[in-house]
């Protein structure tokens, strides 16, 4: 996340330089990044508290089934908050994040199984690879908006799915059979976790939870930085932002890459936990379901999509067997889009806000 551009620069000499860049920009880090130290510190404290509190979840949830739901939900949630970040900050709805999720999952599986890499370096490789893939695809699709973007990301994701199932690459990806993640030796561990530990929800949980909190905190920082504000300006009116001297291409590409990096992290976690990767991780089903989880959870709030993802995993366990999951997903999407524009979390926050103004109004009335 350290590669986030701190300010939007442009090489075009005809573009008028931004007024507040003059003189102080480079020296005063607060100005160039646009973050106040006090706000960052407060956020850091909140994140640390949440992080530590979350580590006790396995003590609270004793049922291993629900622990599995929570762990899977958090993994999918990391991808979902990436999709939500892009939707919220750039107004771009992506159906192609499976490319980075599945791409990095395959990256980890191939690097460990075929190349004999340790899971740690394979995970790093997969996350970097997934992010670079996001940069490459983003460079092609980021100029489009609305439906064009939706369909292009879908097409790229499905193209990757088609590649993974080709018989000519069966020796690498296993085609429809998928590929089992095999570590170089039984004693190799991922950050101290053996393959068996990673497969157990309660021992896997700290890894997933730490990733979720770190990713969410990083996205929060990015959103509050000057970069995040520039993104919002571009989202609101791309033309006006361009006329005001901002490069509108690179920030959007940056947002897409960040969001792709989230999906890559989630993909690696999935591959580590499941120890098995099949073309499903690149499939249309996952692309649609992760987007629906994002929307039903509500992406106006940073962690909303993660909550949507947990709800989705819960619903999957409950309705997946009867096959009615698809029906309920469709209905949930329709209801959420029409009646709950901010998703479930947006609705809850709205109710809380209404309650607060109500009680504040009553206090006011009592006083007078």
């Amino acid at each position: 996340m350290s590669s986030v551009p701190t300010a939007v620069q442009t090489d075009d000499p005809t573009v008028v330089p931004k007024p507040d860049d003059g003189g102080r920009g480079m020296l005063d880090s607060r100005v160039s990044v646009g973050l106040q130290r006090r706000v960052v510190l407060r956020g850091l404290i909140v994140a640390a508290v949440v992080l530590v509190a979350g580590l006790f979840v396995p003590d609270l949830i004793t049922s291993s089934y629900y622990m599995g739901v929570a762990a899977d939900g958090v993994v999918l949630g990391i991808m979902a908050i990436g999709i939500g970040f892009l939707a919220n900050r750039s107004g771009l709805i992506s159906l192609g994040h499976t490319a980075f999720y599945g791409g990095s999952a395959y990256g980890l599986a191939i690097a460990t199984t075929h190349w004999g890499w340790s899971p740690t370096s394979a995970a790093l490789f997969a996350i970097v690879g997934g992010t670079l893939l996001a940069v490459a695809i983003g460079a092609l699709v980021i100029r489009s908006t609305g439906f064009g973007f939706l369909m292009l990301t879908l097409a790229f994701g499905q193209a990757l799915y088609a590649v993974s199932t080709l018989t000519s690459v069966r020796s690498v990806t296993g085609a429809f059979d998928g590929i089992s993640v095999t570590y170089p030796s039984d004693s190799t561990t991922f950050l101290g976790l053996s393959q068996a530990d990673l497969g157990q929800p309660d021992t896997f949980w700290p890894l997933a939870w730490i990733c979720l909190v770190v990713v969410a905190f990083a996205l929060w920082l990015v959103g509050r930085s000057r970069f995040g504000v520039t993104l919002e300006a571009i989202r609101e009116n791309e033309e006006r932002a361009r006329f005001s001297g901002y490069n509108t291409y690179l920030p959007r590409l940056g947002a897409f890459a960040i969001s792709g990096a989230c999906a890559s992290i989630a993909g690696v976690l999935f591959a580590l936990k499941a120890s098995y990767v099949s073309p499903d991780v690149l499939g249309f089903q996952l692309a649609g379901d992760s987007l629906i989880a994002t929307i039903v959870g509500g992406f106006t709030i940073l962690i909303g999509p993660a909550i949507g993802a947990v709800l989705y995993i819960y619903a999957q366990g409950k309705f997946g067997d009867t096959g009615n999951l698809e029906l309920y997903m469709g209905l949930a999407l329709i209801v959420a889009v029409i009646f709950l524009p901010g998703g479930v979390t947006g609705w809850v926050v709205e109710q809380l806000r209404r309650l607060r103004t109500l009680t504040a109004g009553r206090k006011e009335a009592r006083r007078s």
Binding site: L154, T165, L333
Partner: protein, 284 residues
């Protein structure tokens, strides 16, 4: 590559042409990419299956199924597109995505998970000699029906009063509303027509591919690619791109059988790099 393969490409392109022109029409008028178009196509195929199962002839199914889908289209227009016309287009698009999921599941609940064959009518079940090649008559029928439909659609859009209204409303909804065109009624016509075209494509596809629950989703992605390649919202562009994709796909099957599934995506990327606005020159 022989004549039969070219004709196969044309038959596939013909189905894509019927589907994508309906999609492009709806997009032009409501600004919404209808993600339930694949599901409507599948519903059309199941209607045809049910109709022939009930003893109706296939020719009658060719009329009944599109009519049924026109009614579904009317429900979509009245229930969703019209009510949500003030909302952002992408939101309405997401609603159609949800509708597609619901329709997919409802189809499985009614007709089950199995693949059902639908037999072509006796009159076109054999083969016809086309310039010395024996070719299934039914696939020729698909090509003929699609081309006739395309010609009729273009003529209707160009020459009729309603066609004029559709073109005007697609160009600028607000201004045409001010000038006295009842945009809601035009939109109802267009969405019904789009649904009917999806039903027609589904009916035609039923004897060709057989009827199965996955058929809508697999063709949806191809149709979306066709619409992007053709230039979003352009009916003519979509028709041209559909035929192009059908032919390129079959060429891929012949020359690169191992990677033929990638052909539509490759076409999309090539068009994007070379002409980002699609064949008809509309911005993606």
């Amino acid at each position: 590559m022989n004549l039969a393969q070219v004709l196969n490409g044309l038959a596939l392109g013909a189905l894509l042409m019927i589907l994508s022109s309906g999609l492009a029409l709806i997009y032009g008028l409501r600004g919404v990419m209808n993600f339930s178009h694949g599901a409507l196509y599948m519903l059309g195929a199941y209607f045809a299956y049910e109709a022939t199962n009930q003893g109706l002839s296939f020719w009658l199914a060719l009329i009944v199924a599109p009519l049924g889908l026109a009614i579904v289209g009317a429900a979509l227009e009245l229930g969703f597109f019209r009510r949500l016309q003030r909302r952002s287009h992408i939101e309405v698009g997401l609603v159609t995505f949800g509708i597609a999921l619901v329709i997919n599941r409802v189809i499985v609940l009614i007709w089950g998970d199995d693949t059902h064959p639908v037999s072509a009518p006796k009159a076109v079940d054999g083969t016809t000699n086309v310039f010395g090649t024996d070719y299934p008559t039914y696939r020729l029928l698909i090509i003929v029906v699609a081309l006739a439909m395309a010609a009729a659609l273009v003529l209707w859009l160009r020459n009729s009063r309603v066609g004029l209204h559709i073109r005007a409303a697609s160009h600028d909804t607000e201004t045409s509303g001010i000038l006295g065109i009842n945009v809601d009624r035009v939109s109802l016509v267009v969405v019904c027509l789009g649904g009917a075209l999806a039903g027609l494509a589904g009916t035609l596809a039923a004897p060709y591919f057989a009827v199965s629950p996955g058929m809508g989703q697999s063709i949806l992605i191809t149709v979306l690619i066709v619409v992007v390649v053709g230039g979003i919202g352009s009916v003519g562009g979509a028709m041209a791109a559909a035929l192009l994709l059908g032919l390129v796909q079959i060429m891929g099957n012949v020359w690169l059988p191992s990677a033929a599934v990638l052909v539509p995506y490759a076409l999309l990327i090539v068009v994007l790099l070379w002409r980002p606005t699609g064949i008809a020159g509309k911005r993606v």
